[in-house]
Each structure stands twice: as structure tokens, then as C-alpha cells.
């Protein structure tokens, strides 16, 4: 997002007590708005509506609301202070009579419970939050907002310490289902695009984050921390090239032991999970040491590598992806590989599997043995004409 030109003018109004500025942020990861506002020195309260309970389908959107809570202008002329003063700031508005209300229907009991749990519950309740949305969505499977919000809840669980395998893909599935109900909902589409192919991005999304941190630090301040770091998909640049890749596959022979998920738990998510012929998707493949057996990375040997074998006609932006070892010898972090895949223009409808495998050096238990292992990862995708 670029900073609107009226931002400087609002500082003076707010300081003079003429108007109160208030933000409502609609992101999946709302704490990123805190970093953004710190960077741009926007000092106003911000409410969070990740579920889009207000059912606003486009951002940014600005309202001028009078002292009685009545909407007086949409897109007020913030860049024309005299006009705003004449039409809003200096106007004595009359309250409405009691019959006026908004046209929003109250949610039913299941939806209300889900919305309450999401807003006021913490991540220790995340399973109950997800279940509440699933219940509400199964009551009315054609309710687009119910589907979208169920996806928001699944993605929140994916980002929590209580993540279940497949939560991210389920989130994407629900967002895609919401879009089949209303293909024009901009906010729902943005949620998929955020994690989806770079070429599909209408604007850079989170390219501003590194710049913001640098500039905040240069002022001598500590940049606000992010609960969820933007992943590779969330930066728009550089655009991928689906060029022929001459890279050779990493060698794998019989001496390399297989890992069936005992040591490293692999999770793959495709955004979107369904593509039209000729369209692309972004694969997110995460590798996490299995805490149950105290598995951990050992970084004294080679980096983790991932190799994909696209079927004939399928293109990828990279066939070999490397995740560099961190400096410390032992670590436990999730390692994520992202790459883009494009379906052939003549692909037929149905399920397709794109095979790949990872190679990594992993250790068992605290003083246990460390071995180079390989794990097969099958990327499951649906083609739909």
C-alpha cells in the first residue's frame, strides 16, 4: 500500500481535535499493519477485521462518520481540506430517528459463536475456533462469507503452535470455495493471491517490509515484530521465469536412507489448489523436525535441497531449490521451499501428482546419530477446465 496523500493533513486535524482518525485493517496477519503504521508514523487506533465482518469488498475505503455514528460521506475529500471542512467537519449533523439501521443481517447462533471465538479467543482455543467455523459453514455451504472465514480460521491455526498438517491447504480450499460463490469478491481473491503465484499479483503486497524495518531502525527505533514473517510468495518481485532449467538432479543412491516422515515432517500446500490449463500455482513445501523424537537439523553438512520432476508439458520456475543452513550447528526451524508450477495449455481436467524429493542432514534425539536422508514429496493438484 502507498501512503495516501492526505496523511499529512490528517495529522493537523487530529491534533486540533477536529476529527478522530480510526483504522480498520482487513489482513490475515494484522500485526503487519502495526509495522506499517510505525514506519509511516500514523498514530491512530486500529481495529482488526480479518474475518471481514463488515463485508467490505474493497480496500482502501474511507468513511466520514458524524458525532452520532451516521455515515455522512464515503471517500470524503481528504485531499481537499476546505471542502471537507465545509461538508463535514464544520457541519452540525442531526441525529437520525430510531428507525434507521444498517442493512446487515444478524448472524445466526453458530456463526455468532464462531465470530466471537475468533475475535476474543486466543490461540489456546484455536481448535474450538476452527470447529465453530466448520459447523457454521456446514449449516450453509453456499454462504460465501462463511466459507471465506473458515479459511481465515484454518490459516490462523496453520500459523499457531497447534497447527495440524494440511491446515494451510484447507484454508486455500475454503477460499477457493468462497470464490465459486462470488468470483468478484476482491478481498477473498486477495487472500489467495497473497500466497499464490507472483505473476498473479496485482501489486507488490509486502515488498515494503524490509524497507520499513531499515528506515525505522535508522530512526533509532525498534521495528514492531511480526507474528508471521511474510513468505516468498508475499513479495511480488522478481517475477518467475518458466525457462528451461538445465540443473541436474541431486544424486541419490541406495546408500541414502529414506525418511517416511519419521524424522522430518513435510507439508505441501498449493495456492491455488485448482488451476485452469495454462494457469500457474505456487507450491509451499515446509520441512519440520519431528519434536516427538527430538529430531533436529545438523548444519555441519550440506544444505537442504528439493528437486521436482514435473510431468511432460508442465513448467516450473526452478527445479532445484536450496534452503541454506543457518550459522548455528543445531537448529529446529521449519524450512520452507517455494516454487511456481504452470499447467500445460492442453492439460486435461482431473487430479495430477507432481513428484519431488528432498535431501537433508537430520539427527535423532539430543546425542543421537545424524544421517543424510531423502523424503519423497508428492504435490497434489487439480486441473479444471
Amino acid at each position: 500500500m502507498h501512503v495516501p496523500g492526505w496523511h499529512e493533513a490528517t495529522k493537523a486535524w487530529q491534533a486540533a481535535g477536529d476529527v478522530q482518525m480510526l483504522g480498520i485493517v482487513q489482513e490475515q496477519h494484522p500485526e503487519r499493519a502495526r509495522l506499517f503504521m510505525q514506519w509511516k508514523e500514523m498514530d491512530w487506533p486500529v481495529l482488526v477485521d480479518s474475518l471481514d465482518l463488515l463485508e467490505i469488498q474493497v480496500v482502501p475505503l474511507t468513511f466520514a462518520i458524524d458525532e452520532h455514528g451516521i455515515i455522512r460521506q464515503i471517500h470524503p475529500p481528504l485531499d481537499r481540506p476546505d471542502e471537507l471542512r465545509r461538508t463535514f467537519v464544520d457541519v452540525q449533523f442531526e441525529p437520525l430517528d430510531n428507525t434507521a439501521s444498517t442493512s446487515m443481517a444478524p448472524p445466526d447462533l453458530h456463526r455468532q459463536r464462531a465470530h466471537d471465538l475468533y475475535r476474543w479467543g486466543d490461540d489456546t482455543q484455536i481448535d474450538a475456533i476452527v470447529d465453530a467455523f466448520k459447523t457454521a459453514a456446514s449449516d450453509s455451504p453456499e454462504h460465501g462469507y462463511g466459507l471465506f472465514r473458515t479459511g481465515v480460521a484454518y490459516r490462523r491455526r496453520h500459523d499457531s503452535t497447534a497447527a495440524h498438517l494440511g491446515d494451510f491447504q484447507r484454508a486455500v480450499h475454503y477460499w477457493e470455495a468462497a470464490l465459486t460463490v462470488d468470483p468478484n469478491n476482491y478481498i477473498w481473491r486477495r487472500r489467495i493471491q497473497q500466497y499464490g503465484p507472483r505473476l498473479d499479483k496485482p501489486y507488490p503486497f509486502y515488498d515494503w517490509v524490509p524497507t520499513a524495518r531499515t528506515e525505522i531502525a535508522a530512526r533509532g527505533d525498534v521495528p514492531a515484530s511480526l507474528a508471521v514473517e511474510p513468505g516468498g510468495a508475499e513479495f511480488a518481485q522478481p517475477a518467475p521465469a518458466f525457462a528451461a532449467d538445465a540443473t541436474k538432479p541431486p544424486e541419490i543412491d541406495d546408500r541414502i536412507l529414506r525418511d517416511d516422515g519419521t524424522y522430518i515432517v513435510a507439508e505441501s500446500t498449493l495456492v491455488p489448489g485448482t488451476v485452469a490449463p495454462g494457469a500457474s500455482t505456487r507450491a509451499h513445501i515446509t520441512f519440520l523436525p519431528n519434536a516427538a523424537i527430538k529430531a533436529h537439523w545438523n548444519n555441519e553438512v550440506d544444505d537442504l535441497v528439493f528437486w521436482i520432476e514435473p510431468p511432460d508439458g508442465w513448467e516450473v520456475d526452478r527445479r532445484l531449490v536450496t534452503v541454506a543452513n543457518p550459522p548455528q550447528t543445531v537448529s529446529l526451524e521449519p524450512r520452507t521451499v517455494e516454487l511456481e508450477i504452470r499447467a500445460p495449455g492442453n492439460a486435461t481436467s482431473g487430479e495430477i501428482t507432481l513428484p519431488g524429493y528432498a535431501l537433508y542432514y537430520v539427527c535423532e534425539d539430543v546425542n543421537g546419530i545424524c544421517l543424510y536422508r531423502s523424503q519423497d514429496v508428492a504435490l497434489q493438484l487439480r486441473v479444471q477446465n
Partner: protein, 68 residues
């Protein structure tokens, strides 16, 4: 300001929005000029329960946005 100019202003505003998304009439949900802003409680960035209605008594500029 007459109703006619208000209507015209809204029309111009909506038309200005069309190239960006193509379905301006739905963008604001049930939120309309002359209606109260819905009294929906939302958490602030620190998790505290807040509502747009908490700001009654003030002229409010409400900016709905995403940092992308």
C-alpha cells in the same frame, strides 16, 4: 446541497472506482450514506475490545485498509 448533487457525487465516485474492481455497487456491503455505521465490536491491535461506536461524539474519519 441538493439530493440531485449528492446523487451525482455518489455516481461520479462509483464510476471513478469502476476500473479498479468492476463491481463498485457491492463494495461497501450494507454500509450506506445516511445510515449508522454498524456497531460491531472488534479487537484492536493489542486485542482489546473496541467498536466504532466507542468514538461517538467525535467526527470520525474511518479508513478501512490493508498494509499491502
Amino acid at each position: 446541497m441538493t439530493l440531485r448533487t449528492v446523487t451525482l457525487e455518489i455516481l461520479v465516485m462509483l464510476l471513478a472506482f469502476l476500473p479498479a474492481n468492476g463491481h463498485a455497487q457491492q463494495d461497501q456491503g450494507g454500509l450506506q450514506i445516511g445510515r449508522p455505521f454498524p456497531d460491531i465490536a472488534l479487537p484492536d491491535l493489542d486485542g482489546n475490545r473496541r467498536s466504532v461506536a466507542d468514538f461517538r461524539g467525535h467526527k470520525l474519519i474511518l479508513h478501512v485498509f490493508a498494509s499491502w
